[in-house]
Amino acid sequence: MHIPDGFLTPAICIIMYIISAVFLVWSWKRIKENYPRSFVPLIAVSSAFIFAAQMLNFPIAYGTSGHLVGGTLLAVLLGPHAAILSMTIVLMIQAIFFADGGIFTFGANVFNMAVIGGLSFYILKIISSGAKSQKHVWMGVFVASWLSVVLGSLACALQIGVSPMFASAGGILMTVPSMLFWHTIIGIGEAAITTSLISQLQRLQPTVLNGLAILRREVL
């Protein structure tokens, strides 16, 4: 879902840079207020894992692949604000060193993956509020991570759809249905991986998520 340079018109690039910058400033402020320094290694390890996981595409169907984006995974591990910051760093390294995602389209990529990924925390919160069982929470994780990919792809479809390169090929009437079609499927992979990783982590290293539970009360 990394948009390369050239796919977006300059106006969209600028607008997305501004919107993402607002979310980054907000995240930074909330991190400064709420996150203790002891949290830093978890942020760094989580970012590193997401980078590695994003390298590993899994085939879905008809010669198409997807990879874990990991926005919801980060949001569950780190909370929404640090998740946005962490994913932004991953995207920045990818753009600078690996030409994965453009430089001018960086703002859009941050919005589609980091911001929407981080904010999926609130989707999870709404779904699993008052959850009586662990199963209910895992279901919330599944739905939130699926939605984070589908909504991210919708944002991407709108951005490319209104840009001239895709406008001449049918614009959003073409890009929205086709992006949603593929990412509905890719999202299932995302959701399955996210849910199994988090439930395994809860089983093997419950302290990681317990630490978050405390933080979660502080942050929200």
Binding site: P36, L56, N57, T64, S86, A95, F98, A99
Partner: protein, 95 residues
């Protein structure tokens, strides 16, 4: 810090094991562009290790692995520094 060294090692092992199984099919967005007959433009910035290939290594597995390991350490270090700068020095007083 020790447990994080272990976590990084696990991430590297994760790459060593899974890179051969990674799909090279186009991803969702690339597929959509392709089906609409849109060619990906030449990147304005070629990156230092474009397409996750470490330059000068012919073996594709080793090349991708090297790029991946470098990327993991870059992301870890920069996240650590940014995390350090962005977090509070002292623990919250009500704890």
């Amino acid at each position: 810090m020790k447990s994080y060294r272990k976590a990084l090692l696990l991430i590297v092992i994760f790459l060593i094991v899974l890179i051969p199984f990674a799909s090279t099919f186009p991803d969702g967005l690339e597929r959509v562009a392709e089906s609409l007959g849109i060619a990906e433009p030449e990147p304005l910035w070629p990156g230092l290790m474009s397409d996750y290939a470490f330059p000068g290594i012919n073996n594709p597995y080793v090349s991708v692995l090297a790029a991946g390991v470098i990327g993991v350490f870059l992301v870890f270090s920069i996240s650590y520094v940014v995390g350090y700068v962005s977090t509070r020095k002292h623990k919250q007083t009500n704890e």
